[in-house]
């Protein structure tokens, strides 16, 4: 399965599964479903559920 990207509805920040978020302790390759539900957007603190799947 290829890596997906998710975008924050509030601030447009993109989470790319391929690169992860090393600054936030999320390793490259981490799948969206493996990120804890209480994780919040590092830029604007929106909820994980405020991210939407971007078109490939």
């Amino acid at each position: 399965m290829s890596f997906r990207k998710y975008c924050c509805i509030t601030c447009d920040t993109v989470y790319d599964e391929a690169t992860g978020w090393p600054d936030e302790g999320i390793a490259p390759g981490t799948r969206w479903e493996d990120i804890p539900d209480d994780w919040t957007c590092p830029e604007c603190s929106a909820s994980k559920s405020d991210f939407y799947l971007m078109d490939a």
Binding site: E24, C44, S45, A46
Partner: protein, 424 residues
């Protein structure tokens, strides 16, 4: 059924509208705004040059998309004139001068904050640009087009981010501030000096400990000023030349409507932990509020309280949680993250070397209540955020235990809120 009326279409107002719609498909919603309504992320205004974005590209959703998504009535470019809390009615005026009235079941003030104007701006014929919304940003981008030099007044969050963004885009940037180091109210001197040095190496010229006394068009003929440089005189007599002046000396909560309506107002509109103002059925959110004596001028508390308020207004009274306040300041020369303390009393404890610094802001009990990190130390953000949240939560618990034993009004108060929302 009368609608929930939100005044203001910034981050707080639109987040609330979105959360309300997610919780209820049929509650009628109206958003009134003095701006043209669209969704954009305001913190991006001070980093759009380095993001390679035009003002148009900063707009994530326009009014037509928002209207459809939110299934709400969005009324932009209007001025709300009065709130009649007895009749639960607002009156607003359109650009064409028409007066309309609107009855509400609940009213939410998300009126934001407006740039503070220095006295020198009012007496000067030279424009001082303030960037507080995407429209201001458009004006700013048009103004710097083809120019080389920008002078920024104020070395706070916005001033520093704009200075970084502009110097990264090749502009000659000068910053004037009456304090001694950048972000002085939020960070200790040693961290400020590090940021100051790193940005100076990238070309930013600092003028600390000074204020702007006068600004005028250079040259004798004041009539043919187009394209002319501006001369700025500082309090120590220094004269600087620039093309554009930006004023970023801070924001003041927009409270006029609330004051006129008789609501309790301090630095901002006073709210409780349910975002309710001193008046029933009127709530407030975001940059315009004051909670426990402090304003909350950041994105995170606005988001958290909008989510809680959406629950409250749809029948589940919910107090807002203590938000994670860590904010990254976009300074390319020196990565910086901080958790600004809402309390001004405390002591800084700093460790680290070179650009990699970690500073903890400690209160009188030895609890961490804020921090500032630069360079490689920004990796400590999550660990320290957790400590700040945990210690604040512990303090809150201790406090509410005290309140419950000493003051039996608290449970009654919550009951009255449940009763009220059930009536909506």
């Amino acid at each position: 059924m009368n609608p929930i009326v939100i005044i203001g279409s910034g981050h707080a107002g639109l987040t609330l509208a979105r959360e309300l719609r997610a919780k209820s498909s049929d509650v009628p919603l109206v958003v009134l705004s003095k701006e043209e309504i669209c969704a954009y992320y305001k913190p991006n205004l001070s980093k759009a040059l380095s993001m390679g974005k035009t003002p148009a590209q900063l707009i994530m959703k326009d009014a037509s998309v928002l209207t459809k998504e939110l299934n709400a009535k969005l009324i932009g470019r209007v001025e709300v004139q009065t709130i009649d809390h007895k009749a639960r009615r607002v009156r607003y005026r359109t650009e064409q001068g028409e007066i309309h009235q609107l009855d509400y079941q609940a009213l939410v003030l998300a009126t934001g904050a407006s740039p503070i104007q220095l006295p020198v701006e009012k007496s000067s014929s030279v424009p001082f640009l303030a960037i507080n919304n995407v429209n201001d940003y458009r004006t700013f981008r048009n103004a710097i087009e083809g120019k080389k030099r920008v002078l920024i007044i104020g070395a706070g969050f916005v001033g520093c981010e704009l200075a970084s963004d502009l110097s990264g885009a090749g502009y000659e940037v000068q910053v004037v501030d009456k304090g001694q180091w950048p972000l002085q109210r939020a960070i200790p001197e040693v961290i400020g000096s590090t940021i100051k040095k790193a940005m100076a190496e990238n070309g930013v010229q600092w003028h600390f400990g000074k204020t702007v006394e006068a600004a005028h068009w250079a040259g004798i003929n004041q009539q043919t000023r187009a394209g002319k440089p501006v001369e700025v005189t500082l309090s120590d007599g220094t004269v600087l030349e620039t093309d554009i002046i930006i004023s970023a000396v801070g924001l003041k909560a927009e409270t006029k409507l609330a004051i006129d309506a008789g609501l309790s107002v301090g630095q901002g509109i006073v709210i409780d932990s349910f975002s309710q103002t001193s008046q029933e059925h009127i709530y407030a959110l975001g940059d315009c509020v004051q909670y426990e004596g402090s304003t909350m001028p950041f994105i995170a508390p606005a988001t958290q309280s909008a989510k809680a308020l959406a629950q409250t207004l749809t029948g589940t009274p919910t107090a807002f949680a203590l938000p994670a306040m860590a904010v990254a300041v976009k300074i390319s020369a020196c990565p910086t993250v901080m958790w600004p303390s809402v309390k001004s009393r405390g002591v800084w404890e700093v460790q680290g070397a070179g650009m990699d610094l970690e500073a903890h802001f400690m209160d009188e009990h030895g609890s961490i209540i804020g921090f500032a990190l630069t360079g490689a130390c920004i990796a400590q953000k999550n660990v320290l955020s957790k400590r700040c949240l945990d210690e604040a939560a512990r303090k809150n618990e201790a406090q509410s235990a005290e309140v419950t034993t000493n003051n039996l009004n608290l449970p009654n108060y919550r009951e009255s809120i449940v009763a009220k929302t059930a009536m909506l």
